[in-house]
């Protein structure tokens, strides 16, 4: 079982919703579509499901061309951000409904409903109406409905976005479990990098309707192919800084420089972009060769055990994620430290020139 998209695009009224995309999803894999709102995650899913027809390109399912085939005739299941259940049916009937429409026999329906209800911890609620359940249970019911179909392709469109923090954590742990039990191709859209990392599998990063990179999730995270992917796969987004190479040294401004080693040593002189994640910015010098930058503090956000600092560095906005709670004065100058091992170097066109040393080691 594979789902292949070959040069699939979607153009609506002259606007490119999805740029020509090639993507191959293998049997039994978890595939995360990661991108901000309006980056095309839902559009891409609708194309995969067959809810929309591509403007160009072809879609293959198990090697067979299914482009233009109605969604009714494909074996797909979908779960949405809103909790979509049939409001007048009981939980049992909701879960049974796709199988009833497929004409599965009664005993089989009963067996599969009870099995999936058990998996989704819905057994005590089978007689209730969906609206008599909590938000988390409603979404479990929708997940159970998607699962019992035994569809080869299960599309989850930000399924946890409408849940509160606690329930989200709870379901997030369960989704990989049900995924393993099903053996289907799972596609999971999310805006949160953290969620992609937790789910593992493969990740496709999306930016303005374009898949910027597709590969195993840790690899995409550690070695983003370009600045856009790095920006998408970091929350808060990656910070950037103009740097230049002269001779053997990389000049970071503020009188800071490092020796260009490895791949960087072979680069021609010129201007580059340095990128680093917010959690790598420090307010104390931890390593000997860390570089020091003087910034101005704009805003601080406390999240209990961590502090987000929004900084101004010569007109550029940086965000730092600092461990612990710090009493920092807003508007004052703040010295921050950055270990060169945590710096990604991108070309001026945005393409990755050298990944950070730490990412290579990991």
């Amino acid at each position: 079982m594979t789902l292949e998209l070959k040069g699939v695009s979607k153009i609506v009224e002259g606007q490119v919703h999805i740029a020509a995309t090639d993507l191959t999803l293998e049997k039994g894999t978890m595939n995360v579509l990661l991108g901000p709102t309006l980056s095309g995650k839902t559009s891409l899913m609708r194309l995969m499901a067959g809810l929309d027809q591509p403007s160009s390109g072809k879609i293959f399912w198990q090697g067979q061309n299914v482009t233009g085939m109605r969604v009714q005739d494909r074996r797909v299941a979908m779960v949405y951000q809103q909790f979509i259940n049939y409001p007048s049916m009981s939980v049992y009937d909701n879960i049974a409904s796709p199988m009833k429409l497929l004409g599965v026999d009664q005993a089989e329906i009963d067996r599969r409903v009870r099995e999936s209800a058990d998996l989704m911890k819905l057994t005590p609620f089978l007689d209730r109406k969906p609206l008599e359940l909590s938000g988390g249970q409603q979404q479990r019911c929708a997940l159970a409905r998607a699962l019992v179909k035994n569809a080869g392709l299960v599309l989850l469109d930000e399924p946890l976005a409408n849940l509160d923090y606690k329930l989200r954590e709870e379901l997030r742990v369960e989704i990989p479990k049900i995924f393993e039990a099903s053996g289907s191709i799972f596609v999971y859209a999310t805006t949160e990098p953290e969620e992609a990392l937790l789910l593992g599998g493969n990740t496709a990063t999306l930016w303005q309707g374009r898949v910027t990179q597709f590969g195993p999730t840790p690899e995409v995270y550690r070695q983003p192919v370009d600045a856009t992917t790095a920006r998408v796969f970091s929350d808060p987004p990656m910070n950037f800084l103009q740097i230049s190479k002269t001779g053997e040294r990389l000049m970071f401004g503020d009188g800071q420089s490092t020796v260009a080693t490895g791949k960087l040593a072979e680069l021609p002189d010129g201007r580059y972009m340095a990128g680093f994640r917010p959690n790598h910015l420090e307010i104390l010098q931890h390593t000997e060769n860390a570089m020091k930058f003087t910034t101005h503090l704009h805003v601080t956000e406390l999240t209990g055990s961590e502090t987000f600092v929004h900084l101004d560095h010569h007109g550029a906005r940086w965000v730092g994620l600092i461990h612990g709670v710090h009493d920092l004065e807003i508007g004052a100058a703040l010295e921050v430290w950055l270990d060169p091992r945590h710096v990604y170097v991108f070309g001026e066109d945005g393409g990755l020139v050298a990944p950070a040393a730490y990412a290579m080691a990991a």
């Binding site: 809810l51 969604v71 009714q72 299941a77 979908m78 979509i84 007048s88 796709p98 109406k129």
Partner: protein, 290 residues
């Protein structure tokens, strides 16, 4: 020990509301109650009658007949307007120019004053000058709302359907518009057909506004007076004498103030009772998430 301070000034703040409610509801209602338990021959002379008028009204066939006609009228118009309104709402364009156009055109009957609606249909149905009446007559169909009971009933029912179906349709349309697109997608993925989409998504999701539509239409039709009065005046005979028309005949035509007052109170209680039943059903439906 500190004394608890007493401050009665707060009463002044609720006084305007109390006065307003007293003059707009309590006093008029109590006047009716007053009449219903007394007998008067004019000259401001009153005699205590107790529950006599109520007993008389309850044993009077006239009221029961009017009530029967009234229930039949409300039942028939609900049975037509609700399904028709849903049907119209389902077939309306969902957005764009034609959607707005339909909304405006359908609101028009709702904006016409009741007595004008009555007059329109009274003229429209006349066999000598009315387009409808004349056409039917020319086609050889026996239609005359002033002489034929069935013609009279058909006229007032068609008039009410013309006047009020839009209300049901607009409410149903609002209910339909509030259904997220994801429901329809989910149904498509589940391979549900049109009827199943209606039965399991649209109808349950519309149930809330539909109950309001039914409640409004029921109460309004149960109290209807102006339109049938203008068209048929309750005739031929008593064929279209609905409750309110009968009440007015009794109170103003015959000046039977006592019985009419007792009649009014019972009329009021019946509406209150039925509305309460509707309300309870609605709240229960809400709880079930329909």
């Amino acid at each position: 020990m500190q004394q608890k301070t007493t401050n009665q000034k707060a009463w002044f703040l609720v006084l305007p509301v109390l006065i307003l409610v007293a003059f707009s509801a309590v006093i008029p209602l109590m006047t009716v109650v007053n009449y219903s338990v007394q007998d008067t021959f004019g000259n401001n002379q009153f005699f205590w009658a107790g529950l006599e008028w109520f007993q008389e009204m309850l044993s009077d066939e006239r009221m029961w007949n009017a009530l029967q006609r009234q229930l039949m009228f409300s039942g028939i118009i609900l049975a037509i307007e609700v399904p028709l309104g849903i049907f119209v709402a389902l077939n309306m364009p969902k957005s764009g120019f034609w959607s707005s156009f339909c909304l405006v055109v359908m609101s028009l009957p709702l904006l016409i004053p009741w007595n004008v609606v009555g007059t329109i249909w009274q003229i429209f149905g006349r066999v000598d000058i009315g387009l409808l009446g004349y056409t039917l007559e020319a086609l050889g169909i026996d239609y005359n709302y002033t002489q034929n009971t069935i013609s009279a009933w058909i006229t007032i029912i068609v008039m009410d359907v013309w006047h009020w179906t839009s209300l049901v349709a607009l409410l149903a349309f609002a209910g339909l518009k509030s259904i997220p697109d994801a429901y329809y997608q989910a149904a498509r993925i589940d391979q549900a057909n049109r009827w199943k989409v209606f039965r399991f998504i649209e109808l349950p999701k519309m149930m809330g506004v539909l109950m309001i539509a039914i409640l409004l239409r029921f109460m309004d039709s149960f109290m209807i007076y102006t339109e049938p009065f203008v068209v048929t005046g309750g005739g031929p005979g008593n064929a279209t004498t609905l409750l309110s028309i009968d009440l007015v005949k009794m109170a103003l035509g015959q000046f039977d103030l006592g019985p009419a007052a007792a009649f009014s109170l019972m009329y009021f209680l019946v509406i209150l009772l039925i509305s309460w039943v509707f309300y309870t059903v609605m709240v229960n439906l809400d709880k079930k998430g329909m």
